[in-house]
Structure formats: structure tokens, C-alpha cells
Point group: C2
Chain length 452, copies 2
């Protein structure tokens, strides 16, 4: 019987265990996690804090009973201290003390931790980071017991924007500060600008192009100082500045670290150490368009990589086909998504990337409820190769799955012209005979005609 | 200056004119149509009759002013009687009598007409077909002046189901009769059955497996007689039994007719007659999976084929990449879509096609508003080649664009396993880390494991 040990209890770890059990139902799969929350959807934490998700326990993708039923032994509150690859053991420290756990195959899925930017005053009481369930419970307790009236969020990435929505729902007056020229800097500022305006209409004070210099405690409150003399006062501050890979264990094993300090792995998620694989937010991510590793810690990727690690650890030969950086976020009733590269990213790689933006309706405008979609298409000028797409629209205009249509097109290295060949669905309440994504690729071609 | 004449004023015809003008802004494009409604969205007629679209004029994809601004000369109420390919003229009969219209390049886009099944009594007053704007105006006038209370719809395809929704909205009691074992026979009866039940809950009397034998006039009403003694009485009857290609002009030109009597064309939409192309509901449709022509008259296809005909008529070399039969319909708040082949269709072609159905949530169930999606995946047992997909769900669960994700996968001949490699978007309010379509392809693989 093969003993599979997985270190990490989130998306990659659970996916590895599940797939290993799928491939070999006899495998003994043990999952070791430092906290008490196996298989939690950390993407759902803002929705819990906003009150849309009322019971945080429901954030578990699978309950402990479901994990047990799937044949996974779960060891919570257990830290993996070190791996001995020759003895094939993991030194663990758990509720019953330290022990050596033997393995035949090991998957490292230690995930990521929030970046704590070097802002003076970040350790003041009332200043929070948000990455783990414990972080969320601490914020929720603060909201419940201190009844803060004003919050400042530093960082307007996905979680910052979601938390601006969430805290507004909880009744707080929210100021959102972002260093980049517009919120949601993972999309172009044209779309970030629209989102920022809409957040403003929901009552959020959006301050973009602002560099935070310090967080100070006044007698009763917190004051955030930004460059140029800008200051705001609030009862709580949330700092959301991205994540970095957790790699202590991997470093102890002598594993090479690559982009942004993430563990270097092969496309089969293998490490150079025999019998050791790694997956999820702690590893580099192969980018399908760039043809090289990046660092893009996302739940979707962690699931894919974990599944591959679990299969390959049991002798499989699956290859990770690469990320396109596909992401989507819902903020109030606006949905923004992207896939592939922005023009700026593609230019850095040497493509002659150009962008066309089209604003059109999500469905035939004669049918009630049509919403404007803002679609940006990036492609290579000479070849017409599609490089990326970004879409912003209101619910329910199928923004997310329209991004995915472009993602599948990118997966197959389609040209903007070939997108018009796709047989996409149409009915007047839901689309147009040319889907908006096809109108947008045609608009790109109209703006950048092929040279004969 | 090239003179392009297009016969037909609907999707394919307008697309041909627009693309020709795009390729060569100097082309003289003239569009000849028999009725008075250039570029109307006939897919929107049920929504007009249901009252959701209040002004039927808004059903025009483009107004006459917009067509004129695009440089298209529109000749309404003008029938094309015959083509003389040697003289390169079209004999027309219009408001000012008969004339010979010269052309350099001709596109035939004469569309389709509704099938009039040989049901005794189909010509009674109060019995309607529905395909054209005039048909819709006649029904609307009947609804307005006669205030019918009960309607019987014969045929539960896309339009039949949409009209059951529409007439229910207009306050009529509707009986929907369908010969197949379930409504919407273009999808599997498992999904048609769910749709039929939901229509029933909206007050529609759904009678599937019913063969209509006659329509009789009683003193005040219409009585529909079906096999086995079933009968229903109503104030109006709508017969929607599909369409057939309009090919009189093509036959006069000696063009070969193929599947279901549609005009045989090459994949560049060319006919064997020099300088003559044909496109839209009057021609055969190349099927990308079957690798042979079929007849699948759809607006999406007509737009694509018309665009190709217009480009190629001006010297282009575009090839129609083929249909996947992608279709979607919204009936009340339920959306049903399909792409590719059903198991039965694929088996007829020699594939060892098998289906797995998965019912799952459109997004993380912890976030409010999760809707069940019923997803059926068809693939070849030995190779795992994806052959088709069908999805049913309630609005707003992005059914249509999820069908499209599968359509793009089919376009690229992906396997069910490879669908798991797609980098699709995720946020808890809109999906899961594995999108439901990926869960469904994984469920297919779970049910039909690969043989080593």
C-alpha cells in the first residue's frame, strides 16, 4: 500500500489527495495542515465578512466527514517541521507532540501567506491582514464587538475591492487606497477606472494613485498618512497587498526557489527530490502564453496543479498545461474579468501588442435588461494572434463565462479572425448573432486592418 | 466599381453586404428583398408577441438609416424572379414593375420558409404559422382584436417553447403539443422533461408524445384532434414545425440541392455558377464534427456564412469552419442550450458515444442564489473525444456561455480530459474552482474510466 502524505490542507493539498485516491483507491492519503480549517474556500472570506455568507463553516468546499468518506486522513493543527528525503519521513508537531510521519510519496502544498508591507504602524491594534480563516474571524469579531464606523482599505486588488464591497454592506464608510492609477490594477486602468467610479457611486471613497506612508494611532482611531499630505482617519485598517509563497519546508529540503521565491517545479509538478511533488500557491506557475514560469497564486490553478501532483505521485504522467491568468471578480453588481496578457505585459515579451476596446450590449437591446459590456481585446498586430481579453459588465451579463470563451480561444492560440469562426450560442435575451466577444475581435480587426 | 447584388434582406444578406463594403468600400451593394423588413431579428418575434419587446420596429438589427449609412442600397417589396448568369442580371418585380438588375457578383440569401405540415384544417382562420414579421403582426392583431383566451401550440421546438412562454405572458391558457417524447427534442428527453415540468408549473399544459391529426372548426372555436382520441379546444392554434429552404431562384439557375433540399455550396459559400455565392437558411451547412453538410438554419450561421460570401464575392478566400449546432433558448426563467452531437446523433455516425449527466451548482453553494445546472456530456468511449454538451439551468447561471465554453472546446476537438486543463475564471458568486463544465467532463471520465 502506498502512503501519500500531503502537507497543506487547502485547494492543492485536497486536490492531490482526491486525485490520488481516484487513481488508486488503495492509497493511504494523509493530509497535514497547520490550522484547523481543511479545504476552506479562502476566496469566500470577503463574502462572509460582508454578511452574504452567514455561516463561515459553509465555506468548506468539503466537510471533514466528506474528506473522511473520500478516504483522506486529516491531521489538523499539525505543523510539518522538516522532511528527511532519505528516510522518507516528515517531522511533524501536532496536538500530541512531535513525530516522524513516514511517506512513500510526498506532496508539498504549503500555500501562500499575505505580504506584510513595511508600512510603519502596520502592527497597531485595528490593523488587519486578510488571508486565512483566522484572519477573517478576527475581523468579524472586531466588527461585532467594536462596531467600527469607518474603514480604510490599503490595496485595491481583487480582495481589496471585494472587501470594500463587503464592509460597505456591513454598514461601514469605506475608503479604498491604491498605489496604481486605478483600482484593480490587474486589468487596464480604463476598466479599473469604470469600476472605481461605480464603487464611488456605492459610497466607497476611492483614492487611486496614492502611496501609503504610515499608519498612526490617534487617541481613539487610526490615521493613514499617504504621500503628498493626504490623510484619512478610521476605526479599522485592512492591508491587502498580495501574497507570497510559504517555502520554509521546501528550503529545508534544498529545493530551488524561482519567480517571486516560489518553489521551482517541473510541468508534472515534480521536484528534483525523489518522491516529492509540490503544487499550489507555494510553487511557480507555468504560463501558457509566456512559455515560462510565473507566480500567479489562484484557487483554480491550485486545484489543477494539486490534481496533477496527486496523479503523478501515483505514477501518472499528467502535464500542467499552463495558466492564462484567467481571473474574475464581482464587486457590488459589477463583474470584471481578464484572461491572457495585457498590452503592457505582451509588449514586455516582445509582441507588437495593440488593444481595441468595444462597448456593446450583452444581448439584443430590444429585449429588456440589456447591459453594457466593455471588452478589451489584445492581439499581435502583424499576426493577429489573440493575446488577451478583459471584460467589465453588470450582473447578469455572463461576463465571467465570456472571459472563458476567450480563455479557451487563447488556450488554442487562435487569431482574432478565427474567433469569428466559433459557433457560439445565441438567443435575443442572452446574446447577439455575433457574440459580444466576436464583435470585439472584429472591432480589433477593424481598427488594425491586416496588411496585404 | 464592382456591383454586388444580394437577394434576401435578412441575416445572411445583410452580413454579405456589410462585409463586402468592409473589404472594398467602393463596392456598390444592393440588397433586394421581397418583404418590407430588412435586417429584422426574426428570433425576436416571440419576445414581441409576449410583450417583452413593446415596439416591433426595434427588432431591426439595423435601421434603414443605418443600412444606408453603411452604403447598402435596399430595395424592399421586390421579388427576384430569375437570374441570367450569362447576362449577369437579376429579373426583379418591384413597386415600379419588372426590371433587369445587372450584377458583377451575386449572393443568394433567400432564407427559409415555415413548414406547413399536411394537417387537415391547417388553413382555418385562427391557425397561424410563425416565421416572418408579417406572420407576427397577424398574430399580434388577432390577439389584440379577438382577445383569445386559449391557445394550442403544435410543435415544441425552440419557437414553440418560446411562444408557450410568450402567450402565457399575454394571459392566454396555453396547451403545447409535441410528437416527440419530451419538449425541445433538439436536446435529450432528460432535459426536455425538466423543461416541460417547469413549463407546466407556469401553467402551460404540456402534452408530449402526441401526434396531431386534424384541426377542426367548431361554431366558435378550433379543436385539435390528436391520435388516440386526445382533443383540445382553443381560440387560436399556432403550428410551428420547423422551416425549409427557399430555393426557387437557385433551382431556376440549375443549382444542385442537397440535404433537406438546401442549396449545395462549397465551404467558401460559392456555387458552381460563376460569380454566384449563396449563404444562410437557404443553403447546406457544413458540420465541423460530422465533416459533411447538414441543414441547420440558424441566425448565427447565417451571419457567418453571409460574411464569408460577401468577402469571397469580392475576391477573398475565407472558408466556413462549420457549425457545431450550438443553440440556446430561454423559456420563462429556464435556459437550455446544446452544442455538438447528442449521443444518438453521434452513434449514427459510428462513434461509441456515451453520456454522463451531472447536476451541480452554478456557483459555490455558500454564496446566495446558487442554481442547479444539469449538464450532459457526450464523448467517445475509447478515445475520450468530446462530442457534445447540453446544459439546463435557471437564469442567471450563465448557461449560454457555459455551452459556448464547450463549443470552443469542440471546435478544437478536445478530449474530455483536456477540458480540465482549461484556465477558466472563478469567483465564489459565479463559479467554482473547477467550473461546472469541468466537473461534468470529470464526471464523464469517472463514469467511463480510461482502459489502460
Amino acid at each position: 500500500v502506498t502512503r501519500l502524505v500531503v502537507i497543506g490542507g487547502s485547494d492543492a493539498g485536497v486536490s492531490a489527495c482526491l486525485q490520488a485516491r481516484e487513481v488508486d483507491p488503495a492509497v493511504e492519503a494523509t493530509m497535514v495542515l497547520a490550522d484547523d480549517y481543511p479545504n476552506y474556500s479562502i476566496c469566500g472570506l470577503p463574502m462572509f465578512l460582508g454578511g452574504e455568507v452567514t455561516d463561515w463553516h459553509s465555506l468548506a468546499h468539503r466537510t471533514r466527514e466528506e474528506l473522511a468518506a473520500a478516504g483522506i486522513e486529516v491531521r489538523t493543527k499539525t505543523r510539518a517541521l522538516a522532511v528527511d528525503p532519505r528516510a522518507r519521513t516528515v517531522r511533524t508537531a501536532g496536538p500530541e507532540g512531535e513525530a516522524d510521519m513516514p511517506y512513500d510519496r510526498l506532496v508539498i502544498a504549503t500555500g501562500a501567506e499575505p505580504v506584510r508591507p513595511p508600512i510603519p504602524g502596520i502592527d497597531h491594534e485595528g490593523v488587519f491582514l486578510l488571508h486565512s480563516v483566522d484572519d477573517a474571524l478576527a475581523i468579524d469579531a472586531f466588527l461585532a464587538t467594536r462596531a467600527p464606523e469607518r474603514a480604510i482599505i490599503v490595496g485595491a486588488g481583487y480582495i481589496g475591492c471585494e472587501m470594500a464591497d463587503a464592509l460597505t454592506r456591513r454598514g461601514l464608510a469605506v475608503t479604498l487606497m491604491e498605489q496604481a492609477p486605478a483600482v484593480l490594477p490587474t486589468v487596464d486602468p480604463q476598466l479599473g477606472g469604470i469600476l472605481g467610479e461605480r464603487m464611488g457611486r456605492q459610497g466607497v471613497e476611492v483614492l487611486a494613485g496614492v502611496r501609503v506612508e504610515a499608519i498612526e494611532r490617534t487617541r481613539l482611531r487610526l490615521r493613514v498618512q499617504a504621500a503628498g499630505g493626504l490623510r484619512r482617519t478610521a476605526d479599522m485598517v485592512l492591508v491587502v497587498a498580495g501574497v507570497r509563497p510559504v517555502t520554509d519546508l521546501a528550503r529545508g529540503l534544498g529545493l530551488e526557489l524561482g519567480v517571486r521565491g516560489a518553489i521551482r517545479v517541473g510541468r508534472g509538478m515534480q521536484t528534483p527530490v525523489p518522491n516529492v511533488w509540490a503544487a499550489g500557491d507555494c510553487v511557480e506557475t507555468w504560463h501558457r502564453l509566456l512559455r515560462r514560469p510565473t507566480y500567479l497564486p489562484l484557487g483554480t490553478t491550485a486545484h489543477k496543479q494539486g490534481r496533477i501532483a496527486g496523479e503523478n505521485a501515483l505514477g501518472g504522467g499528467r502535464v500542467y498545461e499552463g495558466t492564462l491568468g484567467t481571473q474574475v471578480v464581482k464587486v457590488f453588481d459589477t463583474v470584471v474579468g481578464r484572461t491572457g496578457l495585457s498590452e503592457a505585459e505582451a509588449r514586455l515579451e516582445g509582441w507588437d501588442a495593440v488593444t481595441a476596446e468595444l462597448t456593446t450590449w450583452d444581448h439584443k437591446v430590444y429585449y429588456p435588461g440589456a447591459q453594457a459590456l466593455h471588452i478589451r481585446i489584445v492581439a499581435d498586430r502583424a499576426s493577429g494572434l489573440l493575446l488577451g481579453g478583459q471584460i467589465l459588465g453588470r450582473q447578469p451579463s455572463e461576463v465571467a463565462k465570456r472571459v472563458d470563451v476567450l480563455a479557451v480561444a487563447l488556450h488554442h492560440a487562435m487569431s482574432v479572425d478565427a474567433v469569428s469562426d466559433l459557433d457560439l450560442s445565441y438567443t435575443p435575451p442572452l446574446s447577439s448573432p455575433w457574440d459580444p466577444v466576436q464583435m470585439a475581435t472584429q472591432a480589433w480587426r477593424g481598427r488594425f486592418p491586416a496588411t496585404p
